[in-house]
Each structure stands twice: as C-alpha cells, then as structure tokens.
C-alpha cells in the first residue's frame, strides 16, 4: 500500500488547500489503495480533509496521524469514517459542541438521509446566527448540491462537511461524491463527448443532462447565492481533471495534470453574515 504524505498547505486560503489536495492525489491510479500520512498538517479545512475521508471510505484505504497537532480535531469531526445516522450525528454534536461531524448521506436511507442532511443544514445556520434570510441562503446551495449527487453521479453516497472558524469569522463547506463526474454524465445522458473543462462549462451555463428546460440551474444558482448573497470568499468545483475557482467576481478554469477525481468536489467559503440576506432574485 503506497504511503501518501499530505503536504501542509502554504496558508489558510482555499487555493492553498486546493494545492495540497492536488499534490495529495497527483499520480494516483483510480481506486488505488493508499495510506495517507497526515503528520505534517497543523490546520486543515473541509476542501482538503473531506476528499481524503471520502477516498478512504470509498477504497478502504487507511490513514495515520502520527503526532500531528490536529489529531484531536480529527477525532472530534469523526475523521475518516464520518457518521451516517441521525443518532450518531447528535451524539457527536452533543459531545463536541462546536464541531460538526463529517456526514455520509446514503441514498438508500431515504427519509433518514433527508433528516440527517436537514440536521447538518440546521447546525450550520445555527452557527451563523439568527440573521434574517440566512436559513434560505444556507439551505439553498447545500440542498441543490446534495440532490445533484443523487440525481447525476450514479453513486448512492454523498459526503458533506462544514467547519466554522470563529477567530477568522468564516465558514467552509465541502460536498463530495465519488461518482461518474460531469463529463461522463453528458456522454451517457446526451451523447456529448466533452473534456472535463468543457463539461464544467456546460454545467455553469445551465445546460442540464435532463431534457426539461426548467432544469439545470442548481449549481449555477447555488454559486451565485454563495458569491453574491452570502458574499462568499471562494468557490471551488472539481470534476475529473479540471476545476473552476471563483473568487472576487473572477472565474477561472484550470486543468490539473496527472490528477483525476472520480466524481465531483464542491467547496466554498462564506463569511458570517452581518445583515439580512435575500435570495429571492435568484429564484426567478
């Protein structure tokens, strides 16, 4: 089993976390059994730690934390195994009040899965405070991005994790699947042969793989709500060997050489809201 030492991010920005993520999974063969070494890490955010958790759960890989200073944090968030039931989620939240556990959403669990996701969303907007409109603004992207997993990924499992940083006053959320990814979805559903970069562009232009014309806006609208309503500090979307990085009204597409994420990773950062939020203009 190959040992992968996860490099320490250069700083706490989303792009720095993305760089560590890229270096962690660069040159990895699909579904390769790995042993992740986290001993260099002294701070992680969901964009780095959730993909590792999802990969471990999906491939029965393993990890070691050594003397890492984040060892107790990783235990609090349930890394790497996560929780897949309401009772386990509640137990962990009761024990470690300000930490939300890595949550595993299983399609087959039906209404129980929906309730687990609801608990996750409620915990997130509870942390953000009782700002008018925060519930809608927080729930919309989580709901649309998670439903995308079960509709398009052809995988019955999704991973979701969030962490609020009180001293930095922002919240990071990451949502992942290990499914077929955007390019395969367009190929299999619409017969379109697209690169990973072009498939991300199709998604962001609202071109659904489904035939109904009123569909296909979930990811695009979610990104707008994160950027424009929640004044997001960054949005990262990865599928296959490509990614979209959006920040400060700039949208950049990038190819990741010798890297392939089987499925989709979406991560975003939002500051704690200071005033009322209104998503109604994005619903029309």
């Amino acid at each position: 089993m190959e040992k992968i030492i996860i490099p320490k991010p250069k700083n706490d920005s989303l792009v720095a976390q993305l760089e560590s993520l890229y270096k962690t999974f660069k040159n990895i063969q699909p579904r390769e059994n790995l042993n992740f070494d986290l001993s260099l890490l002294n701070w992680v955010c969901p964009l780095l730690i959730l993909p590792v958790s999802a990969y471990i759960n999906n491939t029965r890989s393993s990890c070691e934390t050594g003397r890492s200073s984040i060892k107790s944090y990783l235990e609090k968030i349930g890394f790497p195994e996560g929780v897949d039931s309401i009772s386990l989620f509640q137990q962990r939240v009761q024990r470690h009040k300000s930490f939300i556990p890595i949550s595993i959403l299983k399609k087959e669990a039906g209404a129980s899965r929906e309730r687990l996701e609801a608990l996750f969303s409620e915990k997130i907007y509870e942390i953000l405070g009782s700002v008018s409109g925060a519930q809608n603004a927080v729930c919309y992207p989580i709901a649309e991005l998670v439903t995308n997993i079960f509709e398009h990924s052809k995988k019955d499992v999704g991973f979701i994790f969030g962490q609020f940083y009180p001293t930095k006053n922002y919240l990071d959320i990451c949502i992942i699947d290990c499914g077929r990814g955007f390019a395969a979805a367009y190929k299999e559903e619409k017969g379109l042969k697209l690169s990973d970069v072009d498939a991300i562009s199709e998604v962001m232009r609202g071109n659904s793989v489904k035939p109904e014309r009123e569909r296909g806006y979930g990811i695009w609208t979610s990104k707008r709500i994160i950027s424009d309503v929640l004044k997001g500090g960054g949005f990262v979307l990865i599928s296959g060997s490509a990614g979209l990085i959006a920040r400060n009204k700039k949208e950049r597409l990038v190819s990741f050489p010798k890297f392939y994420w089987q499925g989709v990773i979406i991560a975003y950062r939002i500051p704690k809201p200071s005033g009322p939020l209104d998503i109604s203009q994005f619903l029309e």
Binding site: A143, T147, S201, L253
Partner: protein
C-alpha cells in the same frame, strides 16, 4: 355518525420526510404514501417545514400533475418561503423567465493559480 367517512387525508410532510426538503428523489417516498391512501383528497401539510429546495419543489409539482386524475392534492400550511419557492417553480414551468447564464471564465494554468496562494 359512525358511517361518515372522512374525505380529506392530512399528511404531515415534516414527519414523513424532514423539516428541510432537499432532494428530488425523496418525493418518491411521498408519492408512494399518497398512492396508499384511499381518500380522493389529500392535504400535504407543510407545518414545521422550514425549507424546500428548488429541485424538490419541481419534483413536488410534477408529482401533483402525475396524480391529478386520481387525487386532489393541496399544499397547506406552508411558510412564506416555502410557498414562494413553490409559486416561483410553478410559474417557471408555465413561462420560463430564466435566461441561460453567461459563463466566460479565464483559463489559467495550475502554476499561476497556485502562485496566487502565496500572494
């Protein structure tokens, strides 16, 4: 009095599904529950439902259309935000106001991107 049959059946969405309705596929559970009910008229009670996603609202409306020849389905006790979501999605099914979004990203190489992390 004993022979009077209740004509309405009330289904509490928060009990059957969740307080936040996110996923399109979860509406299948609701549809199955409705099909098992003998009553012609079914009230879907949204008391305690805090949020319905756009996708779930769309799936709810499609389900209502599918069942309309067999059942009279009413959405009741929804809060302002849930009612608004259902109205907007219903209106968009009839007359779509949404324009396809513009998406003109810059293409950037990975080294330039990661250099920014240090800036």
């Amino acid at each position: 009095m004993a022979n009077i049959k209740k004509t309405h059946k009330n289904l509490m969405i928060s009990d059957l599904l969740a307080s936040i309705i996110s996923s399109r596929d979860i509406i299948d559970i609701l549809e199955k529950a409705i099909k098992k009910i003998d009553n012609k008229s079914v009230d879907l009670d949204f008391s305690n439902v805090k949020f319905v996603s756009r996708s779930a609202a769309h799936a709810l409306l499609l389900m209502k259309e599918r069942l309309q020849t067999r059942k009279d389905i009413y959405f009741i006790n929804s809060n302002k935000d849930v009612a608004n979501m259902l109205r907007v999605v219903a209106a968009n099914r009839i007359v779509s106001q949404k324009k396809k979004p513009d998406f003109n990203p810059e293409k950037i190489d990975i080294n330039s991107l990661f250099k920014e992390a240090l800036a």
